[in-house]
Chain length 258, copies 2
Amino acid sequence: MSCRIVFIGAGNLATRLSLELQGKGYITEQVYSRTESSAKELAVRLNARHTTNPADIVAGAGIYFIALKDSAWDEVLPHVAFGDSLVVHCSGSMPLSALKRFAKNTGVFYPLQTFSKDTPVHFKEIPVFIESASGEIETKLREVAESITGKVSVMDSESRLHLHVSAVFACNFVNHLYALAAEILSKKEISFEVLHPLIMETAGKIQHSTPVQAQTGPAVRFDQNVISAHLKALESDPGVKELYERLSESIYNYHKKM
Amino acid sequence: MSCRIVFIGAGNLATRLSLELQGKGYITEQVYSRTESSAKELAVRLNARHTTNPADIVAGAGIYFIALKDSAWDEVLPHVAFGDSLVVHCSGSMPLSALKRFAKNTGVFYPLQTFSKDTPVHFKEIPVFIESASGEIETKLREVAESITGKVSVMDSESRLHLHVSAVFACNFVNHLYALAAEILSKKEISFEVLHPLIMETAGKIQHSTPVQAQTGPAVRFDQNVISAHLKALESDPGVKELYERLSESIYNYHKKM
């Protein structure tokens, strides 16, 4: 197999993964994105060509990485002449089988991390989950994955979906709670920075203990005085107040079960 | 004022704060806790005496630190002969005025961090918020706080309550989301460790950008295909599924406002 790569998608994941692979000697030949500026920006960083036209995606690459929102697949993938090339998607939530309609040789290459175009990450620590119906493809994907990380596992589509859901809780939802915390502080003109050490400590704690052991706060203590004072403080924001109640209930019920 | 200290409470905060102050030359004379084992354990670490009887708490200390669940105040504090000594509480949610019933010279000393008895923390980075109606007491509290951290601020009780609510979102609720993520993974026998790098990156990102800039995931993209797949994966756990829906709605509504 050739090592020439095409990236279909030029978002956060495509950017960080393609740059990391470039550092390991993999050459990205072309970048596709619907958005001209995104396609061009990543292509320049990779010294590759770019296109916004699915029909202009080159044939015969070694690997096509699909890093598109899955709702965009149908607009793009039917127009690409994949032939016998290896086509892999990078989505936690899509099954391997979803690629069958578009290509013969398929796989999944899912790095579990939150990516931003301009924030380098330590790939060596990032778990990458691969899947393929073919042993040969699995070997190839393992080789590519092991070039960037020490943490490669084979995982089936259903487990990967659950993994993706858990990542939404541990990353996307967590970040939203940071946003709500920032909003609560801004009403009293307190800088969000005061929470930085607390946030790092909270994340750091569960690297060495379980989240159940690490749980603190009024809800797990069932400290109704504090909870009432908090709900009163949130009265001007009913949406945030309701989330406070739901999450407190969830903590209380969760620990009652233990 | 004398530097002799009494800790009323021997929980996570009392343990870390008293040990840190000990390292800076402050001497804890006595530890009170309702629970004999907790009182004794901390007293041994501090080379102090301990008691479980509020009436045996010594008189005439330089500072009494109240680090009790506030629902326990009424059982304990009326029995202590505070006299003219300085009495400070360490609670984010209780106003300064709540101490007036028990003592003449009062203040607040609130370190914003999540503490565990056996996990040392870098106090130097931890913001400490102080409050007192007296300038003299404020100066004393600032001196004590500055011995352990470079981040000392004066904050009034109402702002501190909001700060405490924001900390519940950024720490206690966040930790609960880690627990739910672990539970989702355990159903597929996936180790929680796979999420460690994602959790650290998510916390690390907002040290340099705002949570609004850092938001990723299906809810902010309004990616309904992915959301539907996730909800289906959560069908066996209605409580978690409902939280997923609430948090996704909250993210979507929050970013729509922007």
